[in-house]
Symmetry: none
Subunit: 188 residues, 4 copies
C-alpha cells in the first residue's frame, strides 16, 4: 500500500466517524481536524466546504451500502428471491453497520441538498428487481416508483421502530414478516 502522500483520507475517515456519531450539523470542522490530527485549514486544501465534504462522504457510503446489498443478491435467481434478499440485506446492513446506516438515513432525510438524494442507489436496485419481476410476469404491473416507495417505507419505518425499541418481536421474525409483506405488495 502506498504511503499517504496527502492527508485527504485522514479527513474523510475522521469526518465519517464524526458525522455518524453526531450528525453533520453537530460536527464542527475543529472536531474533524482534531480527530484527523491535522490543521483546520488543511480540510480546505482537499474539499471546498464542509457541505461538499459531507456530500462526498455520503456518496462513498451509499456506494458501500450498494456493494453490501449486491453481495446478498449474488446467489439468487428469481425476482421473488431477489426481493427477499434485498429486504434481508437492508436489515442486516442496518444491524451490522449501525453508524453508517444511521448516517445515511439521517443525511438522506434532511441534511443534504436535494440533488444528492437522487443518487440513493438502493432504490434504483429495488426498481430494477421490480421491473425484472414484471417482465417475467411474476409481479403486478404497477408504477415501480410507487411500489418501490411502499416497499422502502415498509422496510425503513420498521427498522426505525426496531431501533428505537418499540417493537417487541424478535429480530428474525420481524425480517421474515417484512419480507412476506413486501412479497404481498408486488404479487398479483
Amino acid at each position: 500500500m502506498a504511503r499517504p502522500i496527502s492527508k485527504k483520507s485522514e479527513v474523510t475517515d475522521a469526518a465519517l466517524a464524526l458525522f455518524m456519531k453526531k450528525g453533520i450539523k453537530g460536527t464542527t470542522t475543529r472536531d474533524i481536524a482534531l480527530r484527523a490530527g491535522i490543521a483546520e485549514g488543511t480540510i480546505y486544501r482537499h474539499f471546498e466546504s464542509k457541505a461538499k465534504l459531507a456530500e462526498i462522504i455520503f456518496e462513498q457510503n451509499i456506494d458501500f451500502f450498494w456493494k453490501f446489498l449486491k453481495g446478498y443478491l449474488k446467489n439468487v435467481k428469481t425476482p421473488e428471491e431477489m426481493l427477499g434478499a434485498f429486504v434481508h440485506g437492508y436489515f442486516e446492513f442496518s444491524r451490522r453497520e449501525q453508524k453508517r446506516y444511521s448516517y445515511l438515513s439521517a443525511a438522506h432525510q434532511t441534511e443534504l441538498k436535494k440533488h444528492s438524494r437522487d443518487k440513493m442507489k438502493p432504490m434504483q436496485m429495488l426498481k430494477k428487481i421490480l421491473r425484472l419481476g414484471q417482465k417475467q410476469g411474476r409481479f403486478r404491473e404497477l408504477d415501480t416508483s410507487l411500489t418501490g416507495a411502499m416497499i422502502m417505507g415498509t422496510i425503513i419505518q420498521t427498522i426505525f421502530y426496531l431501533k428505537t425499541g418499540r417493537i417487541a418481536v424478535k429480530y428474525h421474525e420481524v425480517t421474515e414478516e417484512v419480507m412476506q409483506t413486501c412479497l404481498k405488495i408486488v404479487q398479483k
Copy 2:
C-alpha cells in the same frame, strides 16, 4: 371577544411558517422576530426557549392533525373501513396542509427530543384500529407495533416520493393502491 392583547400568536404563526420552510435548526430567533414584526426579546416573554417553542408548535400541529384524522373516521364502522379512512385522511392532510405536514414529519424524524415524538397521536390511533380488527377476528394476530410500523412506512414513504415528484401515477390511484396494500398487510 377582545382583540388579542398579546403577541403570542404572532410568534407562533411566524415560527410555524419559518420552521416549515427552513426547519427548526435553520430558523433563527431573529428570523422569527422579524417576520412577526416584534422584538426578539418578546419571544421569551411567551416561550422559555426556542426548543420549547418548537415543541409547543409541534404539539399544536399533532393535535390539529389528529382532529383532522378523526373527522375521517367518524362515519365508518368496520376495522377495514377505518383503516381505509386512516390512509385516506393521511394522504389528504399531506395534500391540503402541506406545510404543516412537512413540519410534522421533519420534526418527528430528527429535530425534536425523544419524549415529544412519542406523543405522535396518529400512530396510537392506528394501533387502536389494529387492535379492534384483531379483537373482531378480522385482522391477523401480529404485534401491533410491527404492523403499525409497516403501514406507517408504506404511507409516509409514498407521500414522500409523491411530494418529490417521483411517482408518475395519479394521486387518487396512489391513495387507492396504498389502501389496498395496507389491507393486505393486516389481512389473514
Copy 3:
C-alpha cells in the same frame, strides 16, 4: 397594623431577601416582582431605578445594624468596655444576621456607589468611641481614621476567615482574642 396602602414595602422586603442571597447584580427586577407578588412596572412607581432601590435598602440595613450595635453599648461605661462591646456586637451581628451581614459587606466593598459607603455608621460609632477614649486620656493620640481602619480590618477579616471555615478556633475564643487585639491597638 394598617393595611398596606401601597406596595412599597413589599418591594423592599423582597429585594432585601434577594440581594442578600444573590447579590445586587445577581438579582433581576423580575425576581423582585415575582417574590413581591407584584408587577415589574410597579417597582418603578416607588423607586427610580434598581440601583437606587439597592442604595435605599443598604441604608435601611446600616441603620438596623447601627441600632443592633447601640444595644450592645447601652450598659457599658468606660471606653475600653465600649470597644469590647463594639467588637462583641459586630461578631454577634455577623452570626445572628448572617444574610444582612453578608449583604452589607458585599455591598460596601463593591456594589454601591462611593457616596453610599460613607454612610457606614458603625465606623462613625467606632471613631466616637476612640475620641472619647482619647479625651479621657486612656487611648493613644492617633488619627482616629487610621486606628479605626486597623480595628475594622481586624474585625472584618477575622469574620471573613471564620465564615469561610479557615480558622480552627472556637467562636468565643476568636471573639475574645480580637477584643484583646483591638485593645492593644488603642492602648498606650
Copy 4:
C-alpha cells in the same frame, strides 16, 4: 527572540486593564476585543471563557505580587523583621502597582470562584513567617490562621481607607503604625 506570533498577550493586557478599571462583571468581551484591537472570537482561541481568562490573570498577578513581596524579605533575618518587611512590601505594592492591587483585592473578595481565592499566596507567606516566629519562641502561640487574618485585615483595611482618602496621616507614618500594630498582635 521572535516577535510575538499570537495575540494572546494583547488579550491579557487589555483584559487586565479593563478588569482593573471596571471589574470582571463590568467588563464585556466586546470591550476586551476593542481595546486589544482584535476580533471577539480571537479571545476564545486562547481562553476557554471569560471566567477562565479572569482566573488566569488573577493567578498571574498573584504571582507577580508574591515575587514583589519576596523581594522585600530577601535581606531580613528575624521573624520580627520579616513581618515588618511583609507589611512594608504590601503597602508599597498597593502604592506602586495600584491597578494590579485593586484588581487583586476586588477579585479576591467577590468575583472569583472559591478555589481561586485559596491560591492567595501572600497569606501563605504570612503564615510561614508566623510559624517561624513561634518556633523561635518569639511570637505567641496562637492559631496562625486567626493571627494571620487579624494582620491581613489590619493591613488591607488601612490601605482601603488610605486609598479612599479618609486617613489624614502621612503615608510613611501609616506604614510605621501598621507595622507596630502587627508586632503587637504577635508578641507575647
